[in-house]
Symmetry: C2
Subunit: 338 residues, 2 copies
């Protein structure tokens, strides 16, 4: 399986590290092997080699901030962009792991369409195209007999989409609700230990959970993007961000958190997706709800199904290897199905 990787930040590098480290095991146990033939980045440069790039070299030169020192070896190309690689290269799968843009989905969205048009499967860590143009990508992929997977977009590599779309394929899923943003869950958990909102946010930033501009997290937009992906993927909706009611945690005070605790409850920022829509809002949950026990930056989701009742999955929602693993899991699923 030959791969083009768009973006070589934490997720792309995490994926590359896993591939490098597990290559013998994956080949022996799962007859799985993959070569990264192309890498496209915004700041490090681009590389393409039809026989596969050397992953150890890739990681080493990426750490210097540029692929300049990646060794020459005919017919290596440094001048091809994503479009060249997709059109003129020999890859089977496009991995989209560049930064998410939830306003336009670009430039990833155009790259994904081009890849499908050119007969490549697509695997996304980038939430933009899946949140904003799910139906049309899905339709194009289906018409061409290609796979489109996006495990990394919700709960990192914790296999949410594998659970919902493969393992529960024979069930009807009626609704999904979950803690899909680790930063806000971390802040709420710290507030329960007595920190103020501002202190907890500062700590989340110090630990690298929250961006310098934390609005996307604390105002609920990151969770909303994931809610949208779930609504569109699980229920075939064609919703946009404007269709969701979104409330973040910025108005939750230490006093609110305390009062909830005194009634045996905890505040959680809950993203919900149903056939008719979705929402993001802070909710007071009782201790009997499995989502309530989920503390820190951990994520969780409860799927309500016709045959099994509620099924809850709890696990990592971020992290370099945790998200990188999602790309591997999607590639293995594509291999099993082709």
């Amino acid at each position: 399986m030959k791969l083009i990787l768009i973006g070589f930040g934490a997720v792309g590098q995490g994926f590359a590290e896993i591939l490098l480290e597990k290559c013998a095991d994956l080949s022996a146990r799962h007859q799985f092997s993959a070569d990264i033939v192309g890498v496209v980045t915004a700041s490090k440069g681009n590389l393409y080699h039809p026989d596969g790039l050397d992953i150890a070299h890739l990681l080493r030169t990426a750490a210097t901030g540029s692929f300049m020192d990646y060794p020459e070896s005919e017919p290596l190309r440094r001048d091809w962009d994503a479009s060249d690689m997709i059109r003129r290269g020999s890859a089977h799968v496009l991995l989209e792991a560049s930064p998410t843009n939830l306003q336009t989905g670009q430039p990833a969205l155009a790259t994904c369409h081009l890849a499908l048009d050119q007969g490549l499967h697509i695997v996304l860590a980038n939430k933009g195209p899946v949140a904003l143009d799910y139906a049309s990508l899905r339709e194009k992929a289906a018409a061409a007999g290609l796979h489109m997977r996006y495990e990394a977009t919700v709960m990192a590599g914790t296999p949410t989409m594998h659970l919902a779309e493969d393992a529960l394929a024979g069930c009807e899923i009626r609704s999904a609700r979950g803690i899909l943003n680790g930063t806000t869950n971390y802040i709420l958990t710290q507030m329960e230990s007595g920190m103020t909102y501002a202190e907890a946010l500062a700590q989340a930033q110090a630990l690298g959970y929250a961006e310098t501009d934390p609005a996307g997290d604390v105002e609920g937009w990151d969770a909303a993007g994931k809610g949208l992906i779930l609504a569109n993927a699980l229920f075939g909706s064609s919703l946009t961000m404007h269709d969701l009611d979104v409330t973040g945690i910025t108005d939750i005070s230490s006093r609110d958190v305390d009062q909830a605790r005194q009634s045996g409850q905890r505040y959680k920022l809950i993203a919900e997706a149903r056939p008719d829509g979705g929402a993001v809002s802070p909710q007071r949950l009782p201790l009997s709800d499995p989502l309530t026990s989920v503390g820190g930056s951990t994520n969780a989701i409860t799927l309500d199904t016709d045959l099994l009742g509620r099924v809850t999955l709890i696990g990592a929602g971020a992290g370099k290897l945790e998200t990188g693993y999602a790309l591997l899991a999607d590639l293995m699923a594509i291999q099993r199905a082709t």
Copy 2:
């Protein structure tokens, strides 16, 4: 896909009901269709028809306690046993849903070996063969290019094995620990509400959770059987029941439960599987453990992995449709892979 179903109790009937009700949806959305060509039971009689049995008739006559009133239609056979159906019939998959025997695994174990010898995939709800002879069944299936699946044996249709064996295939699973017996979890939960052990057990029996002889549940053997399946399936162990340390909940008093609660903890009967063995024992868990929130007859499992850390799945551990669904999920996975 033509199926032989061994056993037509709650699980077999649950599966048949799902097949009957979802048949149009499964065919439209997943290009999945299956015919039950044979049913073998201990007390209702046997039926075989090469074109498929009528599921509505099957369910209706089964409710009378006997297949006697199942309508005649050439070339229906009532005299074939499991061996005849496997050897002389046209089925692709054997579904083993007869009662579990954790001492010998029989007669299901012999039936499963015969099915593999004759080129049928096997899907088990019966825990016996998977707990007692996993390695040899797995080897025989692999050598013949056949599938062996057993989602129903652990946590009913809650997709534990799909999670561990498919979605997490690229991870190394280091250990599994879970609440795998609903009866004992129900009893412990009721004891937290003030019931004595005897009262809680009587209520579990009245609700049909516990057998008249509850020893298999309360002494931990049912959980141990599932722990053994996990140890053998996830770690390639060849353990037997004798290799597990098994302690049930019979020595847990209301006072123990109270004391735990006062320290912010809860007693849970935990089954553990590791590469080097396994155990079942009542443990006091802190509220921060996702297993702690799991009350009543619900089941849960935490898989500790190299790449994702801990992944926890919570859901139904019993029930007619819940367990019947596991058979469908396994069949759909076999269809995807063949």
